[in-house]
């Protein structure tokens, strides 16, 4: 009877651990991440921010941290040369695009783990290339992925060259620190942060955390009004512009005497 009870308990524990995700099931060490700040408020005078992340990790060959969110579909124009003129020649729809993708690493990714492992753990351009799909009304050129990365990097929503600093603190422990630049173009939302520590190309420790970006004050009010009461927003925008225009006229006339 006791054996049966133990067997049932073991089965329950196995499935219970599985439900908490790959981290515990694989038996890796779970790391606690310190994210500061863990909430960014986008107000009127917001000009981007920086998030400092630190953690105590076991001794490893390298560490990779990624911040990612959402999957969206983006519509793009592709330029081409027609009779010497650069014009939009095709519409390209990009599917399964992470809205934001920031990657920090202690070394080059190829020195830390294999391409298969990178794809599996959603790390770097191999993962993105595998994930993102391009659909166009014209034949694809094969340059779309490279150009898309350039576009998102210029836009500030993708960055894959952020450094991680690793420091020995104890014989079996290291201190990890990095700073993620949060560009002003990164939209409000909840972003998932994943940290992997590797030894011999395999993950030996993992940690997760979250970062929330939310608009507040006037910015939030404006976005809500523009999206939910567009007619009122439009009339207000016109009325205020006209009043300011007339007021400026009156002020200048008064100044001229």
């Amino acid at each position: 009877m006791l054996r049966i009870f133990r067997l049932i308990l073991l089965i329950c524990l196995f499935y219970g651990a599985g439900s908490f995700g790959e981290d515990i099931a694989s038996g890796d060490t779970v790391i606690t991440l310190n994210v500061s700040p863990d909430k960014i408020k986008v107000g009127t005078f917001y000009n981007g921010s920086s998030v400092r992340i630190s953690a105590d990790i076991p001794v490893c060959d390298g560490a990779v941290l990624v911040m990612e969110a959402g999957k969206e579909e983006i519509k793009l124009n592709r330029k081409g040369r027609v009779a010497g003129i650069w014009l939009n020649v095709a519409k390209v729809t990009v599917r399964n695009v992470p809205t934001v993708y920031l990657l920090a690493a202690s070394d080059k990714l190829e020195n830390i783990c294999s391409p298969d492992r990178r794809r599996e753990l959603r790390l770097g351009s191999e993962y993105l290339q595998n994930q993102i799909q391009f659909v166009s009304d014209k034949p694809l050129t094969g340059l779309e992925f490279e150009e898309f990365l350039k576009l998102k990097t210029d836009n500030g929503t993708y960055k894959m060259d952020i450094a991680i600093n690793l420091e020995m603190t104890e014989p079996a422990k290291m201190r990890l620190s990095t700073a993620l630049p949060i560009a002003p173009t990164i939209p409000p939302g909840t972003y998932h942060i994943m940290l992997y520590c590797f030894a011999g190309g395999n993950p030996i420790a993992r940690g997760t955390s979250q970062l929330t970006v939310e608009s507040t004050g006037l910015a939030r009010l404006m976005v809500n009004l523009a999206e939910n009461n567009a007619a009122v927003y439009g009339i207000l925008a016109i009325a205020v512009s006209m009043v300011v225009g007339i007021m400026m006229g009156v002020i200048f006339n008064w100044l001229r005497g």
Partner: protein
């Protein structure tokens, strides 16, 4: 200093406050001098500082409402607005604008809108700018003719056609007699072109009034500002309602600069000769034409771009 940056919630970008005020001031100044809304200048400038094209165009229209209201107010006090002509042009412009929007929808469906718009821009700006520059320069160099040498100028084919049209109307403020069909037709044509090019249309309307309707330059400036107020009110409302692309905060900072600039410009315009105004405006028009020409001749940093901005 981070506090000098402002976050634009609809544009989803942060921009230095002084940069926005400076852009508004410069374009408003030109608006006050030449009686143009400045959309054809400010929209490309906003795109250059990272604002998406749709938000730039829509917010620009919003700020032009203030700049043109301010400019119209200033020119009205100086007696430079022909309200009768302005209202007829507005009526034509609304009809033309509605037709133009349908043309743009058709071109978008076929995928040729961007090409057509840019090439039309270059051709229009090239013709208008070159003609104005040549004419301004010729008038500036011309010596006053002795009284006995003055002869009646031969009427152009356009003037002959206009005289043959019915419903001739006196436009007291402009000092011209012309058939009502002429400003209505011109309003429709300019309205269509404005919808196609996505601007207020002042840079087209000003030369049309000067060269085709033969209106005095200072009346042209005030009357054009008057008609642009209505065009931009229409655009602002439509963009807010259908596309949610008007960034009111961006428009506010731009208009603080532009209304100040418009007042300064209007004050200076009355002290400048018409020929000088024409030459300066022609040079600005040609500079914008060259900028667009470069845009279509050079590939840019990436071959992909967001449809309607990021």
């Amino acid at each position: 200093m981070p506090c000098l940056y402002i976050h634009l919630p609809i544009a989803n970008a942060s921009v230095h406050i002084l940069l926005l005020l400076g852009l508004g001031l410069s374009v408003g100044f030109l608006s006050g001098i030449f009686g143009v809304g400045g959309g054809f200048l400010l929209t490309p400038l906003l795109m250059m500082i990272g604002i998406s094209p749709t938000v730039a165009a829509a917010s620009d229209a919003n700020q032009i409402v203030a700049a043109t209201t301010s400019g119209t107010f200033a020119h009205w006090r100086l007696g430079n607005v022909d309200f009768k002509m302005g209202l007829i042009l507005v009526a034509g412009g609304i009809v033309g604008g509605t037709l133009g929007v349908q043309i743009v929808r058709f071109l978008r469906a076929t995928g040729d809108a961007n090409a057509v718009i840019k090439i039309t821009y270059v051709i229009m700006l090239g013709i208008v700018g070159s003609y104005m520059f040549q004419d301004g320069l010729r008038n500036l160099r011309r010596r006053p003719l002795p009284v006995k040498g003055v002869q009646h100028r031969k009427k152009s084919w356009f003037a002959v056609c206009c005289d043959a049209l019915p419903f001739s109307t006196r436009f007291e403020r402009s000092g011209i007699d012309i058939s009502i069909f002429v400003p209505i037709t011109l309003g429709i044509l300019v309205g269509m072109l404005s919808a196609l090019l996505g601007v207020g249309g002042g840079f087209i309307m000003v030369p049309v009034m000067v060269y085709m309707l033969r209106m005095p330059m200072h009346i042209v400036v005030g009357t054009n500002l008057f008609q642009e107020v209505f065009t931009c009110i229409n655009v602002t409302f439509m963009q807010s309602y259908y596309n949610h692309t008007v960034d009111f905060l961006l428009a506010m900072f731009l208009l603080l600069g532009s209304t100040t600039g418009a007042q300064l410009g209007a004050g200076i315009s009355n002290r400048m000769k018409s020929e000088q105004l024409k030459i300066i405006l022609a040079l600005i028009v040609l500079a914008v034409m060259v900028e667009i020409l470069f845009e279509i001749l050079l590939p840019g940093s990436t071959l992909l771009s967001f449809q309607g901005g990021a």
